[in-house]
């Protein structure tokens, strides 16, 4: 299917506001926003949703999604989300986070929110760099990857290995569902959408914590053309971050 046809067929979900986003060409954030908008719209639960925008490229998520939303200090995102959920347990609360936000400055917060089993959905966009601040090394930067603070490539000797968030959280008792998806082919995007749906269901039906990690392109700071970024994920990221279900108590 040509892109023009795909657009015609799907149209723009109403919950995705017609603003032009500030995202770079080929960035995955816009696709993830769209998936969230589609799910909320398909389920007709705009009025039930409260979203947390992170400090990072997606801080303006609330600019584009037509739902109640809140912003938090860098990395504290899941704790602010947990505070909202404790106050409004009947609402669908999700925390949207980048890899710097979630796996560096907010590592403590995500581990303890997951460990307490706070019934929120975490949408974790792993683009292997700090996008917002200009492409520095992230905790998920892959070995050898050049960033603006690893000009010779990430050295595992000096900088350690990338942090695998799903596997880390799987060591805890309470997380109910952890899956790693990809913003890549149409099929993979559909799988990402299904995972987000499942995460929302786990929150609503089980009252449990879940997280969907999404390997997501950042052509600008990977310094690859947008068209090649999907290949980049396959070649570089998927070896270290294998897509798939890491934990699922519903099975």
């Amino acid at each position: 299917m040509k892109p023009a046809e795909a657009k015609l067929k799907a149209g723009r979900p109403r919950l995705l506001l017609p603003d032009r986003t500030h995202y770079c060409a080929g960035c995955g954030h816009g696709v993830v926003h769209r998936i969230i908008a589609e799910v909320l719209q398909e389920w007709g639960i705009r009025g039930q949703a409260i979203g947390m925008a992170p400090v990072g490229c997606a801080v303006l998520m609330y600019q584009y999604l037509d739902i109640d939303a809140c912003e938090s200090p860098h990395g504290r995102t899941p704790e602010v989300a947990a505070g909202i959920k404790r106050a409004r347990p009947d609402k669908l609360v999700f925390s949207y986070q980048g890899d710097g936000d979630l796996a560096a400055i907010g590592t403590n917060e995500i581990i303890h929110v997951a460990n307490r089993g706070e019934p929120i959905s975490v949408i974790f966009v792993n683009n292997a760099v700090y996008g917002m601040t200009g492409g520095q090394m992230a905790p998920t930067t892959v070995p050898g990857q050049k960033t603006t603070t690893t000009p010779k490539g990430r050295s595992v000797t000096a900088e350690g290995y990338p942090v695998r968030v799903c596997e880390l959280l799987a060591a805890l008792e309470k997380p109910a569902y952890l899956e790693r998806c990809v913003i890549g082919s149409a099929k993979e995007i559909q799988r990402t959408k299904n995972a987000i749906k499942k995460s929302f269901r786990v929150q609503r039906d089980l009252g449990a914590f879940s997280l969907v990690e999404i390997l997501s392109p950042c052509p600008t700071y990977w310094r690859v053309p947008p068209a090649k970024s999907v290949k980049y994920i396959e070649t570089w990221m998927e070896q270290i971050f294998p897509p798939g279900v890491v934990k699922d108590v519903t099975k």
Binding site: L60, A69, E71, E79, R86, A87
Partner: protein
Amino acid sequence: MAAPASAEEKVLVTGNVAAAEGAVRAGCRFYFGYPITPQNDLPEYMSSRMPEVGGTFIQAESELAAISLVHGAAAAGGRAMTSSSSPGISLKQEGLSYLAGSELPALIVNVQRGGPGLGDVRCGQADYFQATRGGGHGDYRLLVLAPHTVQETFDLAYEAFDLAEARRCPVMILTDQQLGQMMEPLVPAPMKDLPAVQDHPWALTGAEGRPRRIVKSFYWRPGELEEFNRRLREKYMRMEKELPRWEEDRAADADVVLVAYGTSARIAREAVDVARGEGIRAGLVRPITLWPFPAAPLAAAARRGARFLVVEMSWGQMIDDVKLSLYGTPRPVDLCWRAGGGVPTVAEVAECIRKARR
């Protein structure tokens, strides 16, 4: 302590418990904290009190997390609080700046200890600058309330959320180790009849049948942040005009006006007794709001020629505000201080009064 059953009941509690119960009876249903001496009986009390009233208690993994949970619960319309002591309050500064920037109401209790660094768990008042200047990054202030008895600790906690919601700003109750840990009789006010979460016009409730709401402090369009700051400044200037509160004791005819808050104010009052006994006309102005600082009574005393003696448990922080209050009418301002866990004795302060009069 078992929660007192009726308003007529008199109980004997610590200042920390009084702060907790004052907040609970004001409708606070969300408490988030992290242990630190000398305020541990506050979260411990809340851990059993919150479930009794259908509220939420979480012992968070850090002060950063605790204040972030407060942020979330407040954004959703809950009356939310946290408490800590000096080193923990330093960690909360990030959250306080975001609360102020997001214009969210909340209550923070700081039971001050000696610093800097890990310092000591004994008494201190050296967080005055941090409390009254905002403490985190950016232009903002906290509304800072300074009780000096257990009863007043309860009363200010009971009132704090009304003030915080009316002004949409975080409120800090600034006490100290002695005030927090000592016991005094308390006659508590009755439980306010409020829902656990309120539907404020800005609160996140899910955008059912209405335009979405956004709770944020990020203003990125050119000029937007400047405009927001202009509005914030106006708000805080209104507070400066409308909210200063203080208590005077024998200050009207005093040649030496003592200025002190919290535990220092209790000692200063006794020292005033001693001085009056010796025929020295001493008096006390006790700020109840530290921000906004009550400049008016001090300026008035300066105009009639009084001298000033600031008593505080720091090298001298509130003394700067006293001097600023006298702007235009310079008068001698002395300092009587102990810091690093030391508490001034009545005799020491009385001697300072004798010296100040000369």
